[in-house]
Symmetry: C2
Subunit: 144 residues, 2 copies
Amino acid sequence: MTRDLPLTSRSLPIALLRAREKVMGPIRLMLADVDITEQQWRVLRVLQEEGPQDPTRIADRACLLLPSLTRILQKLEEKGLIARRPDPEDRRKQVVRITKAGEKIIHDNLSASIRAAERIRAHLGPERYEMLLDLLNELNEMDS
Amino acid sequence: MTRDLPLTSRSLPIALLRAREKVMGPIRLMLADVDITEQQWRVLRVLQEEGPQDPTRIADRACLLLPSLTRILQKLEEKGLIARRPDPEDRRKQVVRITKAGEKIIHDNLSASIRAAERIRAHLGPERYEMLLDLLNELNEMDS
DNA sequence: AATAAATACTTCACATGTTAACAAAAGGAG
DNA sequence: CTCCTTTTGTTAACATGTGAAGTATTTATT
């Protein structure tokens, strides 16, 4: 009983890819105006929401791998949007925090970001939107 | 009534990112054994499912941008997994097809790929799995 | 305390994502 | 037919994704 592979519209990986592009496209355009990438935006948001923290935790929260994060933190530091200091408790670690300039970037783009999310929510309807998030989170809690 | 941004678990972009990683992680591992990337695999699958076609259509089906596809086709051609010939109707175009070696790659990894998909489906349950695909497709049909 | 194992990044190498610029060919308007 | 526009694919430049190797530091073992 060998089944065929699903068509692309019924292929979960591709459907996820397209959905992500649909959701992030408008946000990327908005961020391009302030010369910030989508990943840099995620890092700033994590720092602004959860406060100063070390790179490993940032990587977990922002869904980035450490090698990528290393480069991103370098760029953000050059731009003056974050600051770093060594962790006195553990000299392997650093403590990263967002600067005033970084908070301004967030503040200036927050409302547009929220509107983009609301637009998606309105398109699907609140119940289906929540259901989508529930299903994705359930998928993400799979062990493996 | 200004709302806060959602936590990462309720952030659609991040939930999509994590879901994609969860789904593709095992497949990436499998493909690494035959020295093929996830994107190269998508291109081969499109060609095997839909037959010979031009790069613009491949890019659409495999959810890749043309500049990425250009490089991927070069790699696949070097590996002997695809072949190209100019389109006699329109000299701007090419016709790309999968080779025997390319079909063998697909054949050798098809069953493991299907098993990975079935595993996800079993975890969510068939109804919820289909619902997830429906919601993603509905999202992808948003205009803009 | 000496050594092995684990942790927290960093660096490297290669592949892709993304935007912009570009060359070649096809289509359309006059 | 000529000029302009569109389409198709490539190249370039920079940023990130990803796995592997490397460095410094801490923790666990003996």
